[in-house]
Structure formats: structure tokens, C-alpha cells
Symmetry: C2
Subunit: 335 residues, 2 copies
Amino acid sequence: MTSRSQGPTGKRATILDVAAAAGVSRQTVTRAMNDMAGISQDTRERVRRLATELGYTPSRFAKGLVQGARISVGLAIPDLTNPYFPAFASSVVEAATNRGWNVVVDDYGHGTGSALDAAERLAPHVDALIGYLGRESEMAQEMMGRRPVVSLDHPAGRSAGTISFDYHHAARLALNHLVSLGCRNIAYLDSDQGRPSAGRGAAAAAVAEGLGVQLRRCEASTSAAGAKAVVATLLAAQEEIDGLLAFNDLMAAGALKALQEAGRAVPGDCPVIGMDGIPLGELLTPELTTLSLDLRAVGRAAVDLLDGLLSGSLEAGSEEARLVLLHTLVRRQSA
Amino acid sequence: MTSRSQGPTGKRATILDVAAAAGVSRQTVTRAMNDMAGISQDTRERVRRLATELGYTPSRFAKGLVQGARISVGLAIPDLTNPYFPAFASSVVEAATNRGWNVVVDDYGHGTGSALDAAERLAPHVDALIGYLGRESEMAQEMMGRRPVVSLDHPAGRSAGTISFDYHHAARLALNHLVSLGCRNIAYLDSDQGRPSAGRGAAAAAVAEGLGVQLRRCEASTSAAGAKAVVATLLAAQEEIDGLLAFNDLMAAGALKALQEAGRAVPGDCPVIGMDGIPLGELLTPELTTLSLDLRAVGRAAVDLLDGLLSGSLEAGSEEARLVLLHTLVRRQSA
DNA sequence: TACATGGACGTGAACGTTCACGTATCGGCC
DNA sequence: GGCCGATACGTGAACGTTCACGTCCATGTA
């Protein structure tokens, strides 16, 4: 309102406009804007004033072109609405910021989009990619060309780096514990899309078989509400369930609700174990026993990996670029 | 490993390298890479193959410089660890993606950083800024120059756009309800940093005075654990509290825990009301009554506002660019 | 034969910076 | 008077694309 000199209409002001207005050359404007030597205090201030007056903002493209800009990494996430992912994203952003990197976030879950859409959107704008890409990590790596992709929870993928989890180890921890509590008819509440973590259910089944335990697998949408509904019908069908392991903590929370509403005591009648250890678990009643992951460590690891790949100290696709992390059993009240 | 032609060391391949390798001109490479007309199928494929072989990735800077690139907006967030912010961020990302915009996320909370640090990091890389910036929104707008800043929860700020909340309205809803439940000694559990929402406590106090109700204000760190600790000591001190309103849902969750551990029934002995309506509330026991905000609507509104400002249909700093949203009382079990 | 048509390609210019120089002016010193 | 060193500025080139032209050649057409 005050000065509409260069409103949203009309071309944006360039360094030359400022130079002309100040009656100096490009280079002097550069010197003024970037606090360089070789310019008088007077000129510096005058140029600065003129610059803000004209609404001049240096073009990040021109700057990037000539200087080679800071690294910017894409973060492809299935669903920021599931508390697991913000916890992870938060640590990625922190680690990246510490290195002076930018993070461009894409959430491909809210539509019915695929990870590939996210990769496609991000690819032209980033120097590297981190994400839960599932089987689409291959194509994503292809789209990124030489630029490294760190893909989580998809060990089979051919991305430059990989972070995955030992689900057999996790399942052993959980099932051993449930068995030690006396559970014999254990339900495994799986995610129906099985998008990234298809391995979880298979591992649980394998371990259960090894232990000689009955494992009833059922599927629900990856949300508390979905899990609640499925467990409710399971209980209504008089299924003999005396222990429950869930695909993730959110689904465990839904299961807890269903058990509670059905009048089943937890852990008394049916111990419940969640997975991944999101902060939410501690707030539930009863507090959720879970296969915990140090989520901040996961984010840090992803960025570390990327750093190695970008700097060349780690070779893309090599053994050292494939990390496997372990879950820990955190005992709280629910089991 | 297969072909290290242009590893991380050595300069990156440019369009000219590809052109030379293919024995064609720049323009032909452009035509091949961008699916343009005026090129034979043979050449297109050959160039493409050579390009991936050389690890050629078009420079986003050069491209942006000549074409004027997609809009990218910065999102400055205090703490992705607090479930409120991912819920908000998620809707911003969705709305932005729908418009073909990029979102660069910065979480300034994990260090002891200020919003200004985030703005400083983002400013060189984005065309606009959305964020919970508190009083630093002024300086942030200054750093951004003509580029619009939409600042949340800081109505006094001089940013181009503003989204704020009517806390008097919210406090009336909550306190009226508590009073109608028979509460007379109500505690207001405030955030100690009061970073963005300093207005919440003041509004609650004012409304309480209007209603002639005793309002005991106490402060805790903005987390479930912090809230739990403070409420626990409050109860241990034998304070006569028969109702509680919390700064946000996360703190309400902590309060719930403390009440439960002190053997106080909720809502029987002490109804509890949270604020903002994050999804977490439904998973608690008892389910949390809250002053709910349509979080997805907040994000959409922010992006809409930005769109108006960028397109020029909305004037920076004008009345139309200052939105005020209302909380709604969602009754669940806790009050 | 002359000339238009169109497909497949090439070339100068432009985008907005910064870098590495070059130049003018002034004061001081021998 | 001549030279030196600062200080304060200006200028060509480069960064890697795309755009708007131009060129060349084969094919058809009158």
C-alpha cells in the first residue's frame, strides 16, 4: 500500500534495477547486499535502502547457478497424520538443518497417491531423497539418476542406501514376552495395505511357528479407528484371543479401545504390544508396551547415510550403505 | 560401481557433455529430455540413454533461471514433536501440493533456536513463508521483503497475512461448560514459554473474571510430561481444584495422567478440557473433551491466503488478509 | 523446373547472479 | 614530479538452461 512500485504484477526487480536506481554498477550492489569489502558505508546503506524500497530479492536460481547452492534433500512420507512419521521427519529435519541442508517434504498419503508421485514431484528440486518408498524405491532411484536415495523399510530395494529393521528379532521379543505371560492364542493385527512393512506380518508368523504358538492374523486399515473396528468385530465373534501384537502403536491404541469397550481387561485378559515406540504410547491407559525404535536415531542414521553417499565416503549400493536397526521391548503397563 | 564415469568427485555432467557424447547440439538434448517435438525417435532414445549413462541431471538453477520455477513456500514450525504441528503441517503440505507448490520445512524447536533462525534459513530459498512465528513474525516479514509471510497465532504482527484464533470465544465455551458441570475452582494450565499463544491465558483469565469464577493459573513446559509434573505437585499441595482447562491437548493428556495417578476421577472429581483438538484426544482414557479446531482447515486457510497474496487478489496487510478462526467445543468423556 | 511444406536439427541471446579482473581517484612520501 | 598503495568502484565472462529463431534437406506439387 505504501509503495506499490513493483507489486505482484510486473516483473520482479533485478540487481540491475537497484544498480540503476542507485547510480552504481551490479557489482557494487552485490557488495552492498552481501557485506563484502570495497564499498563505502554510505553507498552500502543507500543501496540497501533502495533495494528494500524496490522490493529486490536476489534470485536464488541465479545465485545457485553461479555459486552452487546448499544441498536440499527431499523427504517422501506416506502420511504425516500417523504420529510415527512426524517423529521420524522431525529428526531428519534436525539432522539436515545441522548440516546446513534444506528439507523439502512431500506427503503422498493424503490423496491416494503413490510414493512415485512424490518422487516425481521432488526429483527436479532436490539433490537427494530420503523416504518410505516401499517397492517404488527402485523407480524412485531411477528417476533420481546418480543422486542418492535412502529408502527406509525396504531392504530388497536397489536404492543407494537402505535402512531396514529386523522384524524377526522384533517378533521374537514380542512373542516370547507374550508367551511368558501365558498367552496361547495371540492375534497379530496387520496393516491391510502393507505398503512398506510387508515383512512384519511374515516375520511374526514365522517366529510364532517356531515357538509353536497359535497366531491369528487379521488386517485393518493403518489407523486407530480401523484397528478398533476390526478388533471389535473379532471380539464380538467370540474369538479366543488372549494376547495381541499390533503392526504399529497407532493400531495398538485402537485395539486397546476396542478391548476396553468390550470389557476385556488389559493386560489382565489380553496383553497388548505395539510397535515402533511413538511417544503417544506413554499417554494411553494402560500405557502401551511396545517394540520401541529410537526414532530420532532412525532419522539421524538416514541423514548420516546420505552424507556418506554425497561425500563419496560411502559407495552407493554397498554393504556399508545398508543399515539394519533393532527394536527393543519397552515394558509398560499393557503387557 | 558399474560405471563410475562421473562419481561424486569431478564436476557434474552438463547438457553440453551429453550433447557432445551424442554428437548433437544442446537444443536436441533439451528436446529429448523434455519430450518436445522436432526430434526423431531414434535420437531421442539415444540421447536419453547417454544422459543416464553420464549421470546427467538438469540443473534446477539454470532451469529455474530461464523458466521461472514452481513456487516454493517455507514452513516454519516450533516443534514437530508436538502432535499439533504435524496435523497442521500435513494439511499445508497437501494444499500446497495440490497447487503444485513445494514445501520446505524448518523445525526451529529442537535446538533452542528462535523462529528468526528458521526464517533466516528459509528466506533465501522460498517465495513465501508460513509459520508460527510469534513476535518474530515482524522481523521475518522484513527478511522476506516483498514476499508474503502468513503468520499464525500472532494477530498483532505486521506480516502480509495473519491467521489467528478467538481465545475469548474459546475460553467462554470451555468455562461455561465447566461451570455448568459445577466446577468452581478451575485451574488453567498454561504453557511457560507462551511462545505463540500468549493470548490464551489472558483470555481465560478475563472470561473467568466475567463469570465470577476462581481461575488458578499455573505454568508448565509445553509437553505432556511437563504438564503431568506440574499438576501432580498441584494436587499434592492439596489445592482445591475441581476443573481443569489446559493450554493444549498434549498438556491435557499429561494432566489426565497426573489426576489418574492421584486417584482423582475424571470427569467425576475434576473435569478436564483440552485445546486444539488433535487426533490424540480420542485415544485417551477418558477420551478428551476439547476446544477443537479443524486443523486441516487451518492449513488450507493458510495456503489459500498465501495464494491470494501471491496472485495479487489479496492485498498484504489488508483486513481481508487477517483471518480469525473459532474453536468448537467437542464433548467427549473428560468433561 | 520452381517452389512450398515440414521434419530434424543447430545457434545467438537471454535469464540474474558472482568471480576475477581492471580502472580511476586520492593522499602521502621520497 | 613520480611512484605507491589504498579505497571505491566498474566490466567481461561464466554458470547451465530454454526460447526464438535459422538452416538444411528430402519430399511433394504445380
